[in-house]
């Protein structure tokens, strides 16, 4: 069954993501990063840019599956991902408010491409990171769209 295109433009309830020093370390280590700031105990500790994935990809995707009116299914692949960053890297103690929004759903052959935007803001309202992910739902586009 095809995704419900009437859900284009819908925003889901914001969720909270708290950046922790140990999670930054774990993430940096998984990528083989050597920049000492990723492992620092001090105020200079920062996160690698794609640490933003921890706050956005799975948690944001979960919003889609929690939407009973969308019709998301698990036969999918990750097509594209982008991150635009605010004025500074994420740091331990940052508390982000992340709002998922369905920016678009288009057909490509028998697949459906859903663009999910994640707007993550610091407590003062400034942009921390904006994630844009394209999820490819395989085989569910209507026949006539092929």
């Amino acid at each position: 069954m095809a995704l419900n295109r009437e859900r284009i433009g819908v925003s889901y309830p914001p969720y909270r993501y708290e950046v922790s020093r140990e999670k930054i370390r774990e993430y940096a280590s998984a990528l083989g990063e050597s920049d000492p700031r990723y492992y620092s105990d001090g105020d200079d500790c920062i996160a690698p840019p794609t640490f933003a994935a921890c706050a956005t990809v799975i948690k944001g995707g979960a919003s889609l599956f929690a939407d009973p009116d969308l019709g998301a299914h698990v036969v999918l692949v990750h097509g594209e991902q982008g991150f635009e960053f605010g004025d500074r890297p994420l740091q331990p103690g940052d508390v982000l408010t992340c709002t998922p929004r369905i920016a678009d759903i288009v057909y490509k052959g028998r697949n459906e491409l859903l663009t999910l935007e994640l707007d993550c803001r610091h407590a003062d309202g400034s942009l921390a990171v904006r994630g844009t992910g394209t999820i490819v739902f395989l085989g569910s586009a209507p026949e006539q769209a092929a």
Binding site: K23, E26, Y27, S29, A30, L31, G32, E33, S34, D35, R37, I46, A47, P48, P49, T50, A53, C54, V57, I58, K59, V77, H78, G79, E80, Q81, G82, F83, E84, F85, R88, P89, T132
Partner: protein, 130 residues
């Protein structure tokens, strides 16, 4: 960074995708999809018939290429990639990049990771503040 001009090449590196790297990335990112660590599960659903690395792992390494070159992660304004082909465990990918534009204090860098067969597993762009 020394002077950055169109055509400047970023220092490349290689990474082998292994079960250990995949499990570490799954735990760190929270993406526990068994496609990235369970051969029995992957046999039924994987495009290659086997376990493949997370696309986001390849994106993270492409971003590492850029931050290592830029010298400061704070300079990275944007990273964007397409996941073009799966990266099977056991295969080594080569990460590279080249500067394609320098304008208004921002360098646009094309980045990629190439599999052993020469096909790209990710392709994308980064925007770096100079």
């Amino acid at each position: 960074m020394s002077e950055v001009t169109v055509g400047t090449e970023l220092p490349t590196f290689t990474q082998k995708a292994e079960l250990a790297t995949s499990i570490a990335y799954a735990a760190a990112s929270g993406d526990l999809n068994p496609l990235h660590w369970d051969p029995a599960f992957a046999a039924n659903v994987s495009p290659t018939g086997g376990v493949i690395a997370h696309g986001m792992y390849a994106m993270g390494l492409a971003s590492r290429l850029v931050t290592s070159w830029a010298g400061d992660p704070a300079k990275v304004a944007e990273v964007r990639v397409r996941f073009t082909k799966p990266w099977p465990l056991g295969e080594t990918a080569t990460f590279g990049g080249t500067v394609t534009a320098v304008e208004g204090g921002i360098a646009t860098v094309e980045v990629w990771a190439t599999r052993e067969d020469g096909e790209a597993t990710v392709k994308g762009t980064a925007r770096v503040r100079l």
